[in-house]
Symmetry: C2
Subunit: 164 residues, 2 copies
DNA sequence: TTACTTGTTCTGTTTTTACAGAACCAGATA
DNA sequence: TATCTGGTTCTGTAAAAACAGAACAAGTAA
C-alpha cells in the first residue's frame, strides 16, 4: 500500500461519505478503483484496509444492495472476488434521483395544501417545482444519450491510460 | 399543529435526512414549507417542533450556511423571521453537483494512475467519466433554461393553489 | 470423520451525532 | 442603572453509528 494509493482511497472515501455512504463502504470503493487487478478477495480487502472481518462483511453487503459492488468467482473456485459493478453504475446514480423525485412529489402536495395568502412564496415553490420537472424530463434523455455514446464502436476501444 | 401538517413535516424531514441533512434541519425545512405565513420566529419554531433553543439555534446556523434558510426583520423590530431562501435555492442544489464534480476529478486521476493490464475495467471507468462530463455540460444549461422559464412574465402570476 | 477455508452473525466497545439545559451575551427598554 | 427580549455558546447526556472480536455456519478437502 503505497502513499499515493492510500491518499486516493482516503479522498474517495470522504467524497462518498458526503454523498451519504458510511465510511468503510466509501473506502472500499476507493480501494477497488485503484486496485490492480480491480477485483479483490475478502481477505485482501481486510489486509489492505486493516479492518475487521465483520466490518468488511457488512460493508460489502451494503455495497451489493446499493448496486455498487458485485462478486465473481473464477473456474470452480469457491472464493469470491469483489469488484465495482460498472454495469449497474447508473442504477446507483438513480438513488439520488429518487430522493429528488420524492421531494418533488412532496412539493406538489405542499403547494396544494397552502392557502393563497402568500402568493409570492407559493409562486417560488411552483418555480422550484418547475426545476424538478425539467430534471425529471432531461435525466432519462441524458442516460439515453450516454448509452449511445459509450456504445459507439469507433470510440469503444480508444483506451487512454498514461502508464504503459 | 394538525395531523396533516405534522405528517408532512415528518415526511419532508426524512427526505432531507436521506439527502444528507441532520434530522432537525430537515424538519425545520418541512415546517417552513407548510407554515402560513412561511416565515416564523425562533420561538415559534421551538414551540411547533418542541425542541430546545440550542438545537434550533444550531440547526438554523446550519441551514443558513447551506443557503437553505435566511431571515428577515420587519420595520425596526429586532425579532428575526426565518424563512426558506427560495432565491438561493439553486445554490443549495449545487452542493450535490460539487460532490459529483469532485468524484469526476478523482475518477480522471484514477484513470491516469491505472496500468493497461485491465483495459475492460479502464474502459468502463472512462465511460463513467463520460457520463459526468455530460452532466457537467448540461447542468448549467438546465439552470439557464430554468431561469428563462420562471422569468417569463406571462407565467409569472399564474398562481394555482387549490385553497381559496 | 475431522479440519480448514470463507465468510456471516452476534455481542460488546468506542466514537460520533443530536439534542437538552443552563449560563451567557448583546441590544433594546424602562 | 437594571431588566427584558432574542438568541448564542458551553457542558453534559442519550442514542445511534461504526467497528472489533469471537462464536458460529456452510461448504470443501483431507
Amino acid at each position: 500500500m503505497n502513499e499515493e494509493r492510500a491518499h486516493y482511497i482516503q479522498k474517495i472515501g470522504v467524497t462518498f461519505e458526503k454523498m451519504g455512504l458510511p465510511p468503510l463502504p466509501g473506502r472500499i470503493i476507493g480501494l477497488l478503483l485503484v486496485s490492480e487487478p480491480p477485483h479483490l478477495t475478502f481477505e485482501e480487502i481486510i489486509s489492505e484496509l486493516q479492518v475487521s472481518k465483520s466490518a468488511v462483511s457488512n460493508a460489502l453487503k451494503y455495497l451489493e444492495m446499493s448496486s455498487i459492488v458485485e462478486y465473481i468467482t473464477f473456474t470452480g473456485g469457491r472464493k469470491r472476488y469483489f469488484r465495482l459493478s460498472t454495469q449497474k453504475w447508473s442504477k446507483f446514480l438513480e438513488r439520488d434521483r429518487e430522493n429528488i423525485s420524492s421531494f418533488y412529489k412532496i412539493l406538489q402536495d405542499v403547494i396544494k395544501m397552502r392557502s393563497n395568502d402568500f402568493p409570492e412564496f407559493n409562486q417560488s415553490l411552483i418555480n422550484m417545482c418547475k426545476f424538478y420537472e425539467m430534471l425529471e424530463e432531461y435525466y432519462p434523455i441524458l442516460i439515453q444519450k450516454w448509452h449511445e455514446i459509450i456504445n459507439e464502436p469507433n470510440t469503444q476501444n480508444k483506451i487512454q491510460s498514461s502508464n504503459p
